[in-house]
């Protein structure tokens, strides 16, 4: 059981980190950025490519992976969101445009084979790949019947530290106050002299950097990097997490992430292995019926 609890904490941390980015954009803009899962995948894919195909060190590759993910956040803002916002398009339009961008990013990675236009970006087409052993330090310890692997253990402090940092920035800094003001009422924020577009760009950059980092940690720790990891592993689960935690709430997304991790692993252990997804989404459904505002509901919740 101990090992399974560790498994739950590992995967819960990934869900939480991914969902924090999701919920941040939702909190500020009131729209779901469905390209977030593609950014998650892009972070992992760029890191892998830099290490394996371009011979870079793992740490340089990680840094570049996060920067590329953050820049992709700007692309999302400039291509998918801002033009629609200017024309006051309904939120569903932004939802669809982000889905479109996600499909384009996935397709670009899928095309990456030797001799193609995207060969510099990715070489393995649709195939899942693993970071070669030895490309990053990954000692493994066996303690009291538990297997502790550095790449997985590292996820926990990294996730928690980043989420605490984000919480601090939101609450106690000028930028955080600006973001919260935009979330509360963009028009009033603009009248108070806040550059709303800049704040939104910043939101997308922070959100996508977190998403990209989550992707890198996921790809490294689980040995699975492919064009589909975002779509298959975190896209719908990320939505489940932010609904569980309360849409737009950062502490809610963190708690929701760990909760979903535990629900999934407990489902495997207690109810049998073939009900994992079913139980997780039954919990989501129950939450929607019993407490539609999520764990951090309306009274507790302050926007982002």
């Amino acid at each position: 059981m101990g090992q399974q609890i560790l498994n739950a904490i590992f995967i819960g941390s990934i869900y939480a980190l991914f969902a924090v980015g999701y919920t941040l954009v939702f909190g500020v803009l009131d729209i779901l950025n469905l390209a977030h899962s593609a950014v998650f995948m892009l972070g992992a894919a760029v890191t892998y490519t830099l290490v394996v195909n371009h011979g870079q060190s793992f740490w340089v590759a990680c840094a570049v992976g996060i920067v590329v993910a953050a820049l992709m956040g700007l692309v999302i803002e400039y291509v998918c969101l801002r033009p629609l916002r200017r024309r006051q398009a309904p939120p569903i339009a932004a939802l669809i445009s982000t889905i479109g961008l996600a499909l384009i990013i996935v397709a670009a990675i899928e095309q990456g084979r030797p001799g193609t236009l995207f060969a510099w970006l990715w070489l393995d087409g649709a195939n899942p790949v693993t970071m070669p052993p030895g490309s990053f330090p990954n000692p493994t310890w066996h303690v009291a019947g538990l297997t502790l692997e550095a790449s997985k253990l590292a996820i926990i402090p990294i996730s928690i530290a980043l989420m605490l940092l984000l919480g601090y920035v939101m609450r106690f800094t000028q930028v955080g106050r600006g973001l919260r003001a935009v979330a509360e009422n963009p028009r009033a924020a603009r009248l108070m002299g806040i550059d709303v577009d800049r704040m939104i760009s910043l939101t997308l950059i922070i959100s996508s950097a977190l998403g990209g980092l989550a992707g890198i940690l996921f790809g490294v720790a689980l040995g699975d990097i492919s064009p589909y990891i975002g779509r298959d592993s975190v896209e719908v689960r990320g939505l489940a997490v932010i609904v569980l935690g309360g849409m737009g709430s950062i502490p809610g997304a963190v708690l929701g992430g760990y909760l979903l991790g535990f629900i999934e692993v407990l489902a495997v252990v207690l109810l049998g292995s073939n009900v994992r997804a079913g139980v997780a989404f039954a919990a989501l459904f129950l939450m929607l019926v019993l407490r539609p505002q999520g764990l951090f509901g309306a009274q507790l919740r302050e926007k982002i």
């Binding site: 052993p133 592993s233 849409m247 292995s273």
Partner: protein, 400 residues
């Protein structure tokens, strides 16, 4: 509720489809000279089967090149079109239908995955078009492609070794070598190939006194398999059976070794490609499976094939390349003897089908004939992963 609405939009929106068409047809002479034999291959170039499809394609293209350069089939040129089904059952059927009805291909090859074959093969059967499976190894592929209807399908053939032969042979050989007492089965429940393989494992282990402690099911798209592997490892089995395909076997092996498990991995056809062996790396060392083909096999036409493949593509072929190569040679041999008219497509398809039943040629898989059920009868090679992307031979089991 609005949020539920958003979730449904997301789920509904992640859907894509593709189709294409081209015209074609024959003329009225009954000589082969200058004619074109149009073949269509439905392969998984992307998606879960993307590990296997490109190998089949390369093997097929090599055979087409060789035949055309040597003067074609009685003077007729083979034109092979390969289309990607993205490992998706529905897309596979759409592609096959386009090839049969719009492209008017004489015969089809594929699809790569058994999961897609249950959609494509009944379609080819109903449209009376010969189809040769090159990598599908599940249950009820031939002859009963319309399972649970057990009427034998007349137009469906396969040159790939069925798991019903391969998995029991593999278990039997390991049981004789190491006498394992216990096993755990890990199976992707939402994939026909994997669940068929799992069923064969369950039906076989008792014969060799292996106690199957637990069958652990998961979904093929799940990236995090650690909870399942932890469950398996904590039962301390002698053997872990893996019947999945694509990236899954390597992930299970890596995770189980990290968790300190030292036992034996036994698998199915999903192990038999270099990508899987490479991804598993040191964790896969010694993992055993039964294969339809082995790089160093001593059949005369194998060495020739291996050399030609390496010259063309710069790397060794694998089992899927050998089966794809053999498939084109089989259809070419049948076409040569079928007295095709090139003017009556339904008639030509029927003639080709009859001629395929009597194929008797040398291939890299060995001397090739179909059984009366349109299945392959051949030597089985028990191979094990060498820990660095290749395989070594353990046993050779001659066709009985």
């Amino acid at each position: 509720m609005r949020r539920v609405g958003l979730v449904s939009v997301l789920v509904a929106a992640v859907i894509a489809g593709a189709c294409g068409s081209a015209g074609g047809g024959g003329t009225t002479t009954n000589t082969y000279n200058g004619k074109t034999i149009k073949l269509g291959a439905v392969l998984s170039i992307t998606g879960a089967g993307g590990v296997y499809g490109p190998q089949s394609r390369d093997g097929m293209n090599l055979a087409v090149d060789q035949i055309n350069k040597a003067g074609g089939v009685n003077g007729a040129t083979i034109a092979l079109t390969v289309k990607d089904d993205a490992s998706d059952k529905a897309q596979s059927a759409t592609v096959a239908q386009t090839m049969i009805q719009s492209d008017q291909d004489l015969a089809l090859l594929g699809p790569t995955l058994s999961n897609s074959a249950v959609a494509v093969h009944p379609l080819a059967e109903s449209l009376k078009t010969p189809i040769l499976a090159v990598s599908t190894t599940g249950i009820n592929i031939v002859p009963n492609c319309n399972f649970p209807n057990t009427t034998p399908c007349k137009y469906v053939f396969r040159d790939s070794l069925g798991e019903e032969t391969a998995i029991p042979d593999n278990i039997k050989s390991y049981a004789a070598d190491a006498h394992p007492a216990t096993g755990v089965l890990l199976v992707a429940q939402d994939d026909k190939f994997s669940s068929d393989g799992g069923k064969i494992v369950q039906d076989t282990v008792g014969t060799y006194n292996i106690n199957l402690l637990k069958t652990i099911k998961f979904n093929k798209a799940e990236a995090d398999l650690s909870p399942y592997v932890t469950q398996a490892v904590q039962l301390h089995p002698d053997v872990i059976f893996i019947t999945s395909l694509g990236g899954i076997p390597a992930k299970i092996m890596t995770e189980a070794r990290k968790q300190g498990w030292q036992g034996q991995f036994l698998g199915g056809n999903g192990f038999n490609t270099a990508t899987v062996s490479k991804n598993a790396g040191a964790a896969g060392l010694g993992a055993r499976s039964a294969s339809a083909w082995y790089l160093g096999n001593s059949f005369p036409s194998n060495a020739e094939f291996v050399t030609a493949f390496k010259t063309a593509y710069g790397h060794d072929p694998d089992q899927f390349a050998a089966q794809g190569f053999a498939a084109i040679k089989i259809i070419a041999d049948a076409a040569k003897r079928a007295n095709l008219t090139f003017s009556d497509l339904p008639g030509d398809r029927d003639k080709l089908r009859s001629a395929m039943e009597t194929v008797n040629i040398q291939t890299p898989l060995g001397p090739f004939q179909f059984t009366s059920n349109h299945d392959v009868k051949q030597t089985v090679w028990i191979i094990k992963m060498d820990g660095s992307g290749g395989f070594t031979l353990v046993h050779e089991i001659k066709a009985s």
